[in-house]
Amino acid sequence: MRLLKNREALLVVATGVLLALVAMRFPAFVAPANLARVYNDTSILIILALGQMAVILTRCIDLSMAANLALCGMAAAMVNTAFPGLPIPLVILAAMTLGASLGMVNGTLVWKLDIPPIVVTLGTLTIYRGLIFVLTDGKWINAHEMSDAFKALPRLELAGAPVLSWLSLAIIALMFVVMSRTPLGRAFYAVGGNPHAAIYTGIDVGRTRFFAYCLSGALAGLSGYLWVSRYAVAYVDIAAGFELDIIAACVIGGISIAGGIGSVTGAVLGALFLGVIKNALPVINISPFAQMAISGTVIIIAVAVNARAERRKGRVILRKAEAV
């Protein structure tokens, strides 16, 4: 009973039920190998959702994440085509640095100019994506222009799973440590939970938000490389509209849009839930056209459930009620 009240447990159960339903019509879907494939397919969404989580926890939002991803991915591909010999880790580092700098732009505008986060990232969303066009004249970078090493890394098999999966697992582990064991992670919670009190605690609210944006930017940069190398193509519109999927994953995962509430587990589960739906629908022969309506419905239900769980129980003044 207590377990059921827990948001994350509920999400695990929901995902389990979903898998069971799919398995009834298509048993091969729940074969370990296929589940691993679904996980691999969701890896990028997980990484992005974790970055978005940090930002949402501080009572902000990052609508520019997908555009940031696209710009960094394009930059990585351009670096690769210009210097095919450059070691891939350096390319990744460059993408993450660029991503973090774009995040810093968001963070600085929020921190130093006090512009509402939604306006800032709405603006940078169009600017970042526009920059890709300016940078490339709209030209695509196709598979044959990328070096083999560039394309190979995410699909390289290590101990039975692709590097992409391992990478996302590493990011999850890292975020676990950051969120629960470092002052910065705890500051995210504090700043979103009660910005006023955070000041009294000696936490610089603006700076914490700035770091949240840096983090989400860096993860978007990493995802940019992963996306481009995995799909072996880079163009202006990659991941267009994906920012809403990222936010949806967070919302489903129980991260409160009002800040201060949420967990790494929640974000991961939210992303996985969406990933399972995305991968299961074509398999069980539900028209791909129904997918959008289904994920919309799921989001609304998730919000309603989370809101019920969050609803203040009210301060208990009466003694007898406190005893119950």
């Binding site: 919670y189 009660n194 009294y200 605690t201 000696g202 610089d204 201060g260 129980k313 009466l318 009620a321």
Partner: protein, 512 residues
């Protein structure tokens, strides 16, 4: 008690010199100086808005002073952030509980300076153990791992106390620490203060309760209107001296209660109850009467009053207005019926910051000032002008943003707003909270006048003098229930406090 703290042989743990601080339109502190000595408790007293909390915030690095210096152990320092102050050994229990509802008790205590392991990561085991120890010291029997939101206000305050103890401080500041605590907890706090004194900490203690000041303080400092107007040893003053220094005149004139002939019952409340907030509330309010509601903070008075206007839904109960049964489901219906509520939290529930004064005042009366749904600005200005001038509002113009007014003037706008609806019953929840003495007098005078005109007034207040000065009758609430009813002739401060705190035997402290 130490006897010789005043002698120059002992150096102050911290000293402030010539501190000034202004906010837009308010000079909160002007050229104040204050020294705190190790092993000694200094009481800081002053009216609401005298600048006490502002001083605390300057001492803890939340505000930066406009002028003046802070010295620790005779070296000049600055506190650019709250963390810097904590590092310098200054810690505080703030007036508002500034804590995090979604975090655990232990983390609330250690946020910002959590113990780390050798990798630089937060050490949760040690953190929880240390928190448990600190809670013990603060006299709270609490599981450090539960979430703060599951605690009541008093226990939250204990957590705030534990947080203040979590840094190794040489200066401990307590801004009205007992306001939300119950009798037993207050006594544990006194014992804690004794221990801190014995450890050689310098303590600044802010309170409006004179009994506790005389009980635990060694020295006093009095603020009036942002300036220091007196200091010395507690042993050398009487309570009356302190009050005179604080207010600058005799206290009596503050409550201009008129003698009004009380009429027939106007509002009858019977059997009001709510699953968690209040239970079994019955009373009558009569024409021309001012009915005081007294209780400690968190007694559930505001919650109950809000159920009368349809904000909180009661689970049972009925009200009659002028003998007719009324069902009120929303504030809009309450206003139409003639019952209005001037809320306690001015910033959140009362004033609409960001809108001009006249729009604030006319909001509940728009149906009177407009014609078939279209605004009539001339009518609005007329209404706003009438009521704000009766409350002696000080403002540059009526289309000035309410947010730019001083707290007291904001409160006047809020009161004007509800008076402009011409109610039969007006409920004032802490009407003078946070407003200066002059405005307070204006509000009280106006309240008296309203009663004289035949309005019925319910006044919720946690200030004994205000309750005693203004009420015809007093109802005392504790933990969501009515625990006492007193007619004016038998009112004493002591009976009120006892009823509110649930003490049977006479308490040993001096009553105010």
């Amino acid at each position: 008690m130490l006897q010789d703290t005043t002698t120059s042989r002992i150096k102050p743990a911290i000293a402030l010199e010539g501190i000034s601080k202004s906010f837009p339109g308010v000079r909160a502190l002007s050229d104040v100086s204050l020294a705190l000595y190790p092993g000694s408790v200094t009481a800081l007293v002053g009216e609401n808005g005298a600048g006490k909390s502002t001083l605390v915030k300057i001492l803890t690095g939340i505000y930066q002073p406009d002028a003046g210096v802070i010295r620790i152990a005779e070296t000049e320092t600055t506190f650019p952030t709250a963390l810097a102050a904590a590092r310098a050994g200054v810690t505080a229990i703030h007036q508002e509980t500034v804590l995090f509802d979604e975090l655990s008790v232990a983390e609330n205590i250690f946020l910002g300076h959590a113990p780390r392991n050798r990798f630089g990561l937060i050490d949760w085991t040690k953190l929880n153990a240390d928190a448990a120890a600190l809670l013990q010291r603060a006299g709270a029997d609490l599981d450090p791992t539960i979430r703060l939101r599951d605690l009541g206000i008093a226990r939250k305050h204990l957590v705030a106390i534990a947080r203040a103890l979590s840094v190794d401080a040489r200066v401990v500041i307590m801004d009205e620490p007992t306001a939300a605590l119950s009798h037993k907890e207050i006594h544990e706090l006194y014992a804690l203060i004794e221990r801190l004194k014995a450890d050689g900490k310098a303590i600044l203690f802010i309170s409006h309760k004179f009994d506790e000041i005389f009980r635990i303080a060694d020295r006093y400092t009095v603020f009036r209107d942002g300036a220091m107007v007196g200091e010395g040893l507690i042993a050398d003053v009487s309570q009356d001296d302190l009050v005179r220094m604080m207010v600058g005149r005799a206290v009596d004139s503050v409550y201009p209660k008129k003698a009004v002939e009380i009429g027939e019952p106007v509002l009858t409340v019977s059997g009001y109850r709510h699953p968690t907030e209040f239970d079994d509330i019955n009373f009558e309010l009569r024409r021309g009467e001012i009915l005081g509601f007294y209780g400690l903070i968190g007694a559930g008075r505001s919650e109950f009053m809000q159920s009368l206007i349809g904000v909180t839904r009661p689970s049972a109960g009925a009200i009659r207005l002028d003998g007719e049964v009324l069902v009120i489901r929303s504030p809009a219906e309450a206003i139409r019926a003639g019952i209005v509520y001037v809320p306690e939290e001015r910033g959140r529930q009362g004033a609409i910051i960001g809108m001009p004064i006249f729009q604030n005042v006319t909001l509940p009366s728009l149906s009177h000032t407009s014609r078939s749904g279209f605004l009539r600005l001339a009518n609005e200005f007329a209404l706003a002008r009438e009521y704000t001038s009766r409350l002696d509002l000080r403002a540059a113009s009526l289309d000035q943003d309410v947010g730019t007014l001083s707290g007291g003037n904001q409160q006047k706008v809020v009161i004007a707003k509800w008076l402009a609806t011409r109610p039969k019953v007006i409920i004032l929840d802490e009407p003078t909270k946070g407003i200066d003495i002059g405005s307070k007098a204006a509000v009280h005078a106006f309240m008296s006048e309203l009663a004289a005109q035949g309005l019925s007034v319910i006044m919720v207040s946690s200030e004994i003098p205000e309750i005693m000065g203004m009420s015809d009758r007093v109802i005392v609430m504790r933990e969501g229930r009515i625990v006492g009813r007193f007619e004016r002739p038998v009112l004493t401060a002591e009976t009120l406090v006892r009823a509110a705190a649930g003490i049977e035997a006479p308490s040993e402290g001096r009553a105010a």
